[in-house]
């Protein structure tokens, strides 16, 4: 268990350094000269030179990267070019909604995907299996924004059932829940197809194993054999898949937040890039990358917990 965590953290280190370097690149290739921005218009060349020296802009790149790392580790991500607010502050407001959105999406996708996949596996070859597998391929082939737009078009605009603009407050309020429904289902539906397919494959494999026969030989009901013995052992590959799909979840979150005006990190990232707010873009990319690493760490932990052979 501990070994798995350490292993994951070790893999994460080069990734983190890579992300930090990208963040750093974003800041130094920025077409605008930070010194000029700070000094404002009509600054004398002398003042600019002093400012550059103060900001460390005249040092070698690697040294500047080291300085950058030092600042980031102290939690200083710079200030937004647009509204001059500290980036870390803006991010701290946006992180909660993003986390909440991804969690709710998983709460939709994982049970639905696993249920559909198991149903397809048990009903292998019958029409219901075919329908489930065909719809999951269709789901896999749909761009995330298409699902979102269709949902808005029908549930939002046409039938006026659900709100689709922004966050409605904390999740324990009625409005918070209502506003969450469409974004979470949209984001979750991206993952339902892959999860259902993987569950089906894993289940079909497990159902042929000897211990399933043992369970049947004990006289357990078919429901118990499938739900307890087969599903439980088919879960680890599904969990691994969710880890592999975490990138899609993240990408989907960016799209979903943009479409539903969800005040999260993804929307912040897009608007920062659109407005050339490089410090902000750098901050959002760092946060998204770290959350990706955290999702993978959690997936590893869940995997260990599910498989007693690694648990010890």
């Amino acid at each position: 268990m501990l070994r798995v965590v350490i292993n994951r953290l070790l893999i994460s280190i080069p990734v983190l350094i890579g992300v930090l370097f990208i963040g750093f690149l974003l800041l130094i290739v920025a077409p605008s000269d930070p010194a000029a921005v700070i000094a404002g218009e009509g600054a004398t060349p002398e003042l600019l030179a002093v400012l550059r020296q103060e900001l460390g802009l005249d040092r070698p790149v690697l040294e500047r990267f080291a300085l950058y790392l030092q600042r980031v580790l102290q939690g200083d991500l710079g200030k937004s070019v647009i509204n001059k607010a500290p980036v870390i502050e803006e991010l701290s407001y946006a992180m909660g909604p993003t986390f909440e959105l991804m969690l709710c999406a998983l709460l939709v996708a994982v049970p639905v995907g696993i249920a559909l996949g198991s149903l397809a596996a048990v009903m292998r070859g019958r029409w219901i299996d075919r329908v489930i597998m065909m719809s999951s391929v269709a789901g896999l082939s749909m761009p995330g924004f298409m699902i979102a737009l269709l949902a808005i078009q029908y549930f939002g605009l046409h039938w006026g059932l659900l709100p689709f603009q922004g966050r409605g407050g904390p999740l324990w309020t009625w409005s918070g829940i209502l506003h969450m429904v469409l974004p979470a289902t949209t984001l979750g539906s991206i993952l339902i197809g892959p999860i259902a397919r993987m569950t089906r494959t894993a289940m079909l494999e497990v159902l042929t194993l000897d211990y399933i026969r043992t369970a049947r030989a004990k006289g357990l009901s078919e429901l118990k054999v499938v739900l307890k013995h087969a599903l439980r052992t088919a879960l680890p590959p599904v969990v691994t898949l969710i880890g592999l799909q975490a990138g899609y979840l993240l990408g989907g979150a960016v799209v979903t937040e943009t479409i539903f005006a969800w005040p999260g990190v993804g929307r912040l990232a897009i608007s920062a890039i659109a407005s050339s707010d490089f410090p902000m873009a750098q901050g959002t990319i760092l946060v998204l990358a770290v959350s990706f690493l955290i999702i993978n760490l959690m997936v590893d932990l869940i995997y260990c917990w599910l498989d007693p052979r690694i648990r010890l």
Partner: protein, 328 residues
């Protein structure tokens, strides 16, 4: 059978089972008939692939779905035809009336549940008892099969046990509900000699005290000699010889049985394995005409390649499916 019983524990009549393969449906056993009385032991011997395991799976109706299918015949257990039961009724038979011990001890247990939960699960499926009581009985069952330190083993996972211990857990699981019939497919292959003797002794005890019937599928002729009342020899999905153990061992009638027993120095030899009969097991998809054994048979005659010999009485309860029988 030596003592003719009006209603034996299990009577299998003309059972035929097929399996769907990529190349079409393949009949894997046909015309298999035998009986097992209460408190008696039947041994099924034959090379691997001869249909021994399919026979036991057919009795339990645990053939792989949807490929496996019972085509014809009956399995009558205490007068009830198991092939006609609903899935729900069959479930109540499995594990309670008839238990089975599978061959593969390494894979027969689910890796993600503890030994205790897998044992009590079998009990709770058939009997109304509290968890504490179920646990106590599981503990007793583990003790019975001679697992050291059973208390701590209850909370262990299968991977923490050795192969032999796992096999004993599987046996304990099968015996937990005190079945009337136990089918054991190579139950002692993974065990060392002392444990093997212990398990066989346990089987014998249950046979005597509870009148448990036992079907033992084995390669080990020593075990056959020690345990069996009756023996059937299978070849290419058919019973080629059947009869009381002494008669089979002393006066084998089928050339295949003779081949199996031939090189065995003494019947009482404990560790006797099946000797190799020259040639290979035939492909069930392309069985030869006539007697399935004739291509390998040293005594084959022209007739053997044309007509299929049926099981005929040689003397008493001893029957053989060979045109040349009786050989003596």
């Amino acid at each position: 059978m030596t003592q003719a019983e009006a209603n034996p524990l299990l009577r299998v009549t003309r059972l035929r089972t097929s399996i769907a393969t990529d190349m079409g449906r393949m009949v894997v056993i046909s015309d298999v008939s035998f009986e097992v009385g209460a408190g008696r032991t039947l041994c099924i011997v034959g090379e691997s692939g001869c249909g021994k395991s399919i026979t036991s799976l057919s009795i339990m109706r645990l053939l792989p779905k949807p490929q496996g299918r019972i085509e014809a015949g009956h399995v009558s257990f205490l007068g009830r035809d198991l092939t006609a039961l609903s899935e729900r009724e069959m479930r109540q038979v499995r594990g309670r009336d008839i238990s089975i011990v599978f061959q593969e001890p390494m894979t027969a247990l689910n890796p993600v549940f503890t030994i205790g939960s897998q044992l009590t699960e079998a009990l709770l499926a058939h009997e109304r008892c509290g968890t504490a009581q179920a646990r106590a009985r599981a503990l007793g069952a583990l003790r019975e099969v001679g697992i050291p330190d059973p208390e701590s083993r209850l909370d262990a996972y299968p991977h923490q046990l050795s192969g032999g211990q796992r096999q004993r857990v599987v046996i304990a699981m099968a015996l937990l509900c005190r079945p009337k019939l136990l089918i054991a497919d190579e139950p002692t292959t993974a065990l060392d000699v002392t444990v093997q003797a212990q398990i066989l002794e346990l089987f014998r005890q249950l046979r005597n005290s509870h009148g448990m019937g036992l079907i033992l599928i084995t390669h080990d002729l020593g075990v056959v000699a020690e345990m069996a009342d009756d023996v059937i020899v299978m070849y290419a999905g058919r019973v080629v010889e059947a009869g009381p153990v002494a008669s089979i061992f002393n006066r084998p009638q089928h050339p295949y049985t003779i081949g199996l027993l031939g090189s065995l120095p003494k019947v009482s030899e404990r560790q006797g394995r099946l000797p190799i009969v020259p040639g290979t097991v035939p492909n069930l998809m392309a069985l030869p005409e006539g007697c399935g054994f004739h291509p390998r048979c040293p005594l084959a005659q022209r007739r053997c390649a044309v007509d299929l010999p049926l099981l005929n009485a040689v003397h008493g309860d001893h029957r053989a499916a060979c045109w040349l029988a009786p050989l003596d």
